[in-house]
Amino acid sequence: MNLIELDIGEEAVVKKLTASSDLKRRLISFGVMKGAHVKVLAVAPAKSTIEIEAGKMKLALRKEEAKTVEVERV
């Protein structure tokens, strides 16, 4: 499953990043990498954008980008 499938408040561990290398590097620099613990904090209307917490950092991702983050619920 990927990030966009999580609901508000759900937590998960990142399994794999399937993005292109630019985006992957960007995600990594924000702390979204294999093994990282993430939590969905909020979603925008129509779930077009989601806010997650990775480590101590909060970040917003568009649906398309969130789909490239494979996770597993914990």
């Binding site: 960007r26 925008a44 209307p45 917003a60 398309e64």
Partner: protein, 712 residues
């Protein structure tokens, strides 16, 4: 700028590169370090240029280069590119890496990359007061030992550690560089060891330390590759590196070496932090930021709340801003009169009063709006709310190829295009920003209102004018979105830029920061735009006043003297004005290019009005007034001008005229600002072509359709 007394020996000149992620309080720190505001520091997101601060401490002369905030050592955004280029290509002695003590895990990502650059690094554990409040205890001494790099607790707010930081920088500068203790997993260390062995065996001497060289080769650092590729040793080294890379990728189960290293760094950082940081925070409750976010990014109320904020900002900008505007306007009018009275020569007086003072006045006129708008935007941004707006709106805007944050510049465009272009800076990504810049002109600015009012009043009954105005504005905005989509599918084609953005903590910005920002922005506007615009206004003035054929003037003046009634005199004066304008360079161009606008149903007079409108839309009404012979003093309320227009211009032509006004370049001042914000003159020509073609095509269609519909 140098203060030589404190700098007796040139050898004691230290250049410091100040590097950190966004929102770590870098600008605040630099202010407390230098005490003097020789240059104003930047703050996250608005200034993309690096700024320098010069000061003396003890016997050393410091140059601190404040680099834009960057999350990682890449070149994804303009900020990151500026920082990346500086760190790789410029001369400096020491890096001060500013980190946010409350979020070290994230901040050390950048730090660990800086440690392999082969430079002297000092780490400033900033916001240590906030960390203390949050129950985060950092053993800076032990951390320094583990990293092999001095770590100093600092706080820009309480001035803690500032002296120590400077002393440490001096110490670090005076000593030889010590190798940072960046330890990787066994698998990676083994490969590094292999490469080191190879380098040693081949007696490869480079300015880089061997370990840094090995790490950077494995990471695929371009600068290092460029350096070593030219050496003969490269041929033998290449397979070694390739093999090592393959091993590491295998070990990390990825095909991306950078990802592998990111994981390496992350586990190294976790190790360091586990040893040096204790968190005594009580069981985590919802933070203030999360509580505020529950309301502000609420799925239902979020957007209405934002719209209310915007509405309030615009009310303030254009009602409060209008008060000083009147004073500024009358001040420049008064100054024109006073100065004009002292000049005897007619031509020079006209140049100074109408050209120079008028032009500069027109620029200064917008200053109050710009100040208010920038206070608002600075507050929206420094508090962290802007990121929430992007979060809320990105879904809708993305459908049109725009970014969530494009909303702010676009709405600002309804007021005035100049601040709109300037506020597009909040967009970090080049392509998003350029696309937004191209669309802003479609949002009809306040200066176009008089033209709309005039034409709506001329062709429609009074009770319908409001609706007509609304239709004009809305269709402008819709055209803009459409244009965005078209541009996205053509000129700005390509994969969508990803939207991955930090949601920073809400912070109450300090008065000093807001003031500095607004002051810098306003001053830059006045200085740079002012000089360009003043020059260009003089040019337009020249084109519409020369060549000045005195024969025409004499001919009419003779007639005017003979005229019996006041009315006849007035009429002749208008005719004189028209004749002179028709004979001017601008008029000649208008007549010459008349065949070009004929398919749109426009005559040379409307053509000239449109061309004069390139200088400023306010000029359109007064030019029409002159051309349709009513004298200089016209405004949209003049009923007789309305009547004239109704008599002389067929409705389809008028519609085409309005369509052109809606779409083509806003004004000269805005064009200058656009060019500056877009970053290159070529974008201005793209914009010119794009808006002209769009205006022409749309006006042509509007004209033809209304001809058919109205049976003209």
């Amino acid at each position: 700028m140098n203060t030589p007394k404190a700098c007796p020996v040139t050898a004691k000149h230290i250049t410091v590169a100040l590097v950190g992620q966004p929102n770590v309080g870098k600008s605040m720190l630099i202010n407390s370090i230098s005490n003097a505001h020789l240059h104003v520091g930047n703050f996250s997101g608005v200034t993309v240029e690096k700024t320098e601060v010069l000061f003396d401490y003890e016997d050393y002369h410091f140059t601190v280069v404040d680099l834009p905030g960057t999350y990682a050592f890449t070149d994804y955004t303009i900020e990151e590119r500026v920082t990346h280029d500086f760190l790789c290509n410029q001369e400096y002695d020491v890096i001060i890496n500013v980190v946010d003590s409350t979020n070290l895990e994230k901040n050390f990502q950048l730090t660990s990359e800086l440690l392999t650059m082969g430079k002297k690094v000092v780490i400033a554990l900033n916001m240590s007061d906030e960390a203390k409040k949050e129950g985060i205890e950092i053993d800076a001494k032990y951390m320094s030992e583990l990293l092999g790099v001095p770590c100093i607790k600092t706080s820009a707010a309480t001035k803690e550690g500032i002296e120590t930081l400077l002393k440490t920088v001096i110490q670090t500068y005076d000593q030889e560089r010590k190798e940072p203790k960046l330890v990787f997993s066994e698998a990676v260390e083994e490969e590094i060891e292999n490469i080191l062995k190879f380098l040693k065996n081949h007696h490869c001497e480079l300015e880089y330390s061997k370990r840094d060289l090995a790490i950077n080769l494995l990471k695929g650092n371009e600068t290092v590759y460029n350096m070593i590729r030219k050496k003969p040793i490269w041929i033998e080294l290449q397979p070694v590196v390739l093999e090592a890379k393959r091993h590491i990728e295998l070990h990390h189960d990825t095909d991306d070496i950078k990802e592998a290293f990111a994981e390496e760094y992350a586990s190294f950082i976790r190790g360091i932090l586990a040893e040096t940081v204790k968190i005594n925070a009580p069981k985590r409750e919802k933070t203030l930021t999360e509580k505020i976010d529950d309301i502000l990014i609420h799925p239902v109320f979020g957007i209405p709340i934002f719209l209310f904020f915007m509405w309030a900002l615009f009310q303030l900008t254009f009602t409060l801003g209008a008060v000083p505007m009147d004073y500024i306007d009358s001040f420049f009018g008064w100054m024109g009169d006073v100065v004009g009275n002292t000049i005897q020569n007619d031509d020079i007086r006209s140049l100074v009063v109408d050209g120079l003072i008028g032009g500069v006045g027109a620029v200064v006129l917008f200053t109050p709006n710009i100040i208010i708008l920038f206070i608002g935007i600075t507050l929206l941004e420094t508090t962290g709310y802007m990121s929430r707006v992007a979060f809320l709106l990105d879904g809708i805007f993305h459908k049109f190829g725009l970014h969530g944050q494009s909303f702010i510049p676009l709405v600002t465009g309804f007021g005035c295009s100049i601040p709109a272009y300037m506020s597009a800076r909040i967009l970090k990504n080049d392509r998003d920003r350029l696309l937004t810049l191209f669309i802003i002109g479609f949002m009809s600015c306040g200066a176009r209102l008089p033209v709309y009012v005039l034409f709506a009043g001329a062709f429609f009954p009074e009770e319908m004018s409001g609706t007509v105005l609304f239709i004009i504005y809305i269709s402008g905005a819709l055209l803009g979105l459409l244009a965005a989509k078209v541009l996205k599918l053509t000129a700005f084609k390509g994969i969508d830029e990803p939207f991955v953005m930090e949601m920073p903590k809400y912070r109450l910005p300090s008065f000093k920061l807001v003031w500095h920002n607004v002051y810098t922005q306003t001053w830059m506007y006045l200085k740079k735009a002012g000089t360009f615009i003043a020059g260009a206004t003089v040019l337009i003035w020249f084109l519409s006043n020369y060549p000045h054929d005195s024969k025409i003037e004499e001919f009419y003046n003779a007639k005017i003297e003979q005229a019996s009634t006041q009315e006849a005199k007035h009429k002749l004066q208008n005719e004189l004005g028209e004749a002179l304008l028709a004979d001017s360079y601008l008029g000649r161009v208008g007549k010459f290019t008349e065949p070009l606008v004929e398919p749109l149903g426009l005559d040379w007079k409307m053509n000239v009005a449109l061309q004069a409108g390139l200088a400023a839309k306010e000029v359109v009404v007064s030019t029409l007034g002159v051309l349709y012979s009513l004298g200089d003093e016209v405004d949209e309320a003049t009923s007789s001008l309305k009547d004239r227009i109704k008599e002389q211009i067929p409705l389809p032509s008028a519609i085409a005229f309005i369509v052109v006004i809606m779409i083509y370049l806003p004004c000269l001042a805005a064009s200058v600002v656009f060019t500056k914000e877009a970053g290159h003159i070529k974008y201005f020509f793209y914009l010119l072509v794009f808006t002209s073609v769009a205006a022409y095509v749309m006006a042509f269609m509007a004209y033809r359709v209304s001809l058919v519909v109205l049976g003209g």
